[in-house]
Assembly symmetry: C2
Homo-oligomer: 379 residues x 2
């Protein structure tokens, strides 16, 4: 039997305290509580033009998370609050709630079953009260709080920052503190792009989720690169949701556009592609070719180090990139439309890892769990 | 010596008649004419929040196009009007101008030097007056006009259609006529996504060009897939600018989102990934890993045919996908910031083709030119 662990780094929760808030609200985001044939029939509305989706105990009940993990052979999950986090709250409320939710999540993990004498089955990403009008001091306090909660290994973050996006210099003290703390920053989308882009047809949630979400992550990360954040904070550990969205496929175009634009051509220390090798990518892309390509793009980043010694025509070693990729499920989102023993969305991501050409057992075991244990200092 | 041809399928022109229109305008799109030290110092403004870029004879002078081709060893170019085409014109004006510009472009090509007894060095993509309020009859007339102009081999098209996007049923007669005509439809972006997404920092044109353009192409193509256009018009030949933008990398996520959404789950004939194998992709992606990945995504489409016989765990034959990929330069856009003999943007795309792992000489020659000759029936 293999000792390899399966670790889910992209799995969400609405903690009971947060779910209660969603139930109490009359505008987005909210849970609308009703009943059908005597059973609760709650629906969750979080997106612009959202038509809602069924929401139930799988979103807040820890036992449901553990059952889901057992059913899919997941040994450990690093759980994060689901979007839209605290984005919609006034600063003081966001600050109070962040503190409480971080304590709640610590408890959620600390009381979870043990995986081994030294490991729990649940760890977590905390929350910062990252909203307009918040003080830098409050953000630094939250980082300190999370650093002291031993089961929280990072923070999950949206893309709005203090309202001007993540490329605002206002966030430099936050990046500095996060870099120093060693906490992993899980960058996750919520807003997509302007809904006008989706047109008038009813395509359900497909366009905002399949395209808008990855676009948002791509834009946010690109703006971080262009703002020099990775030049100033080179040890920041940023984990990108949904395998970095479209960033890998657009990264050579990005590098070319930068090099051909007088405004930015000489601003950065390295070719844009170099920065992709400093990032971490979840493996939530649903296809083996996508994962292999992301792995290539990470591997090739060495070629693009300013003054580096790797020629740009050197073939990539795909194995190398796998070390920065980590399995995830996006649970409890994307449930099967018809009940099945295992969720198709999970099975697809596992099969994708298994089918990547050029990855051996070591690379696959790494992506499935060993990379996460290492990233979160759990070995 | 190799008989392999280098053919540029992504190369633009503002025909003199169109450039004169841009000069006459007081709102976007426009050319602002001024002079610096006695020399003309014209600048082109086409994008929202555009800060302009130098524009000169390389945009309208055919001799400049041919000189550029000679300098880069390009045997043949299939030239298209640059964005934003006729999008901003009232219907009657768009219709008149489309007819004239199609005649102009035919002349531009027909009078060009010969490459061989049966081939010219220049061919073209015509224009449809695809604007709100235009009649279907006018669009069908334009398709008929272009079909009869022997050097026009396709049309270039933006993403707005008649104002509601390309997924509107209003366009079904147009798709039907295009399918019947055999004209290649070159889908090209102009609008990107809402500028709010780019934030407040001055990053030049990098974000709208590097990300906005490919996002727009991705959205338009996805909307076409979701609207069943490729199910209804299976022989339509659509060529995607910039290697399909982000569509390849998001295609498995798209397939998964479709399968998990009750609104669309059973709407299409095939898994979303199948449709990518029906498309053509220019090779304007600036990196070998990107091109190899696009090739994989085309190759794998066979696996995703409804009721097909190729198991989903079959490794892809990367060579297969190369047949639907075609070299392009995006000239006269992306000139080098400092004068150089060869343009870096062109050299990068050629080097990328040459460096794709898993492509042999046949595949590389195909992407460089043979695929274009075949697609445009020039063999």
């Amino acid at each position: 039997m293999s000792l390899a662990r399966l670790v889910d780094v992209h799995t969400h929760v609405y903690l009971p305290r947060y779910a209660a808030l969603l139930r109490s609200r009359t505008t987005l985001p909210r849970i609308i509580t009703s009943s059908r044939e005597g059973k609760p029939d709650d629906r969750l509305f979080i997106l612009d033009r959202d038509t809602g989706r069924p929401v139930g105990s799988q979103y807040w009940d820890r036992d449901e998370k553990l059952k889901f993990m057992d059913r899919h052979g997941i040994d450990m999950s690093v759980v994060s609050s689901a979007n839209p986090w605290l984005d919609f709250l006034p600063a003081s409320e966001a600050q109070t709630l962040a503190t409480q939710l971080n304590e709640d999540l610590e408890q959620y993990c600390a009381d979870s079953p043990s995986l081994s004498p030294s490991l729990k089955r649940l760890y977590g990403f905390g929350l910062l009260p990252l909203v307009p009008e918040i003080s830098t001091a409050a953000l630094l306090e939250a980082i300190e709080q999370i650093s002291k909660l031993s089961h929280l290994k990072g923070i999950i973050m949206g893309t709005r920052g203090l309202g001007k996006g993540l490329d605002s210099e206002d966030l430099d003290p936050v990046w500095a503190a996060l870099e120093k703390s060693g906490l992993v920053v899980f960058l996750h989308p919520h807003y997509g792009v302007d809904v006008e882009a989706w047109g008038e047809k009813d395509n359900g949630h497909v366009l905002p989720l399949a395209l808008g979400f990855p676009f948002e992550t791509t834009i946010a990360t690109t703006r971080l690169i262009l703002a020099g954040v990775f030049d100033r904070f080179p040890s920041l550990r940023l984990l990108l949701a949904h395998s970095g969205g479209a960033l890998p496929q657009l990264s050579s175009r990005l590098a070319s556009c930068i090099e051909h634009d007088p405004v930015v051509a000489s601003r950065l220390k390295h070719d844009a592609r170099w920065y992709l090798g400093k990032l971490y990518f979840d493996a939530v892309a649903y296809g083996p070719e996508e994962l292999g390509f992301v792995s290539d793009v990470i591997s090739r980043s060495q070629r693009y180090e300013a003054g580096g010694s790797v020629p740009t025509n050197t073939a990539v070693d795909r194995a190398l990139g796998s070390r920065r990729m980590l399995f995830g499920t996006d649970h409890p989102f994307f449930p099967p439309l018809q009940p099945t023993e295992k969720w198709k969305s999970v099975v697809e991501n596992l099969q994708a890892i298994d089918a990547v050409t050029g990855w051996g057992q070591v690379e696959k075991d790494g992506v499935r769990g060993a990379n996460a244990l290492s990233l979160f200092n759990l070995v």
